[in-house]
Amino acid sequence: MAEIEVGRSILEANDKLAGQHRERFAASGVKVLNLISSPGAGKTSVLEQTLKRLQGRLNCAVIEGDIQTDEDARRVAACGVPAVQIQTQGACHLDGVMINEALAALDLASLDLLIIENVGNLVCPVDFDLGEDMKVAVLSVTEGDDKPSKYPALFQQAGVLLVNKVDLLPYIDCDMERIHRTCHQLNPEQKVFDLSCRTGEGLDPWVDWLTGWAKG
């Protein structure tokens, strides 16, 4: 019987691939976002509204992760932006291998900003580094103000939090202050934008900030 010290990260294969992608992104001068939320929080709506406002400001492309269908990729392509669809066939998150395949279809050198829309899920995508510069969490107010404390990992790691559907606040019991307080506690550096894709409220400050960040 022999004991062998290992000390290796279980996610090392994915982390290695993510590191290679990160180098490739940096060399091409493209900034990359990993957009994560639960299903139905409004990731694709945020994308549509954001891409519309970025027209003429940044050259963008999108990688769309979904379990089935290419509906989201078609919605994004309708905004005039190259969109590559990944169908995970059941997998609950995107990983480095899937991103590697999707990158073959994109001309990174021509881009300022690549947005990866992850599979709708608050838990699994957080473990898999995709080589992004920043994770962006989308939380809709209808999901409840307890979600950041129930699923802390995403809200701790996200550099930006977009609180969507704020137009519905008069009709539901959601304590915005609790969302802000919990997220600040999990990540004091986090930028937070409250917005509504339906009314357009709050989108401009987010897009202005994003433009500055991507050019920085």
Binding site: E3, A13, C92, H93, C124, D127, F128, S149, P152
Partner: protein, 113 residues
């Protein structure tokens, strides 16, 4: 639901170590998983037991040590239990606190013959 992918990565590391150390049979795999790593131990064991069949780790027992979510106070340097969200240091009341543990996800060691 991503425990199967985690189990596949885990098995790849175990078999790589077995090959490098030229062992015949892995009997134990010890991993450390943080409370905030988003991995459910029972699901990981279930997945690992499923995919280890027919490999050198077929009889390996997966032993999972769970690491607690802990933090540290920058003011009094006290350790803080972060398994529930805390707004301030329970020792000195400072709000300058930071997570220091709970994200672990690694293979600590294996035992082999």
């Amino acid at each position: 639901m991503h425990e199967l992918s985690i189990a596949q990565s885990l098995l790849a590391i175990v078999l790589d170590e077995a090959r490098r150390h030229q062992v015949n049979k892995v009997t134990k795999v010890a991993v450390k998983i943080g409370a905030l790593a988003g991995v459910v131990p029972s699901s990981l064991t279930f997945s690992f037991d499923l995919i280890k069949e027919g490999t050198k780790a077929a009889e390996a027992e997966l032993v999972i040590e769970q690491a607690p979510a802990v933090g540290e106070c920058h003011t009094c340097e006290g350790e803080i239990d972060m398994s529930r969200l805390v707004e301030q240091c329970p020792h000195c009341g400072s709000k300058d606190i930071e997570f220091t543990g709970g994200q672990e996800l690694y293979v600590d060691h294996i035992e082999a013959e």
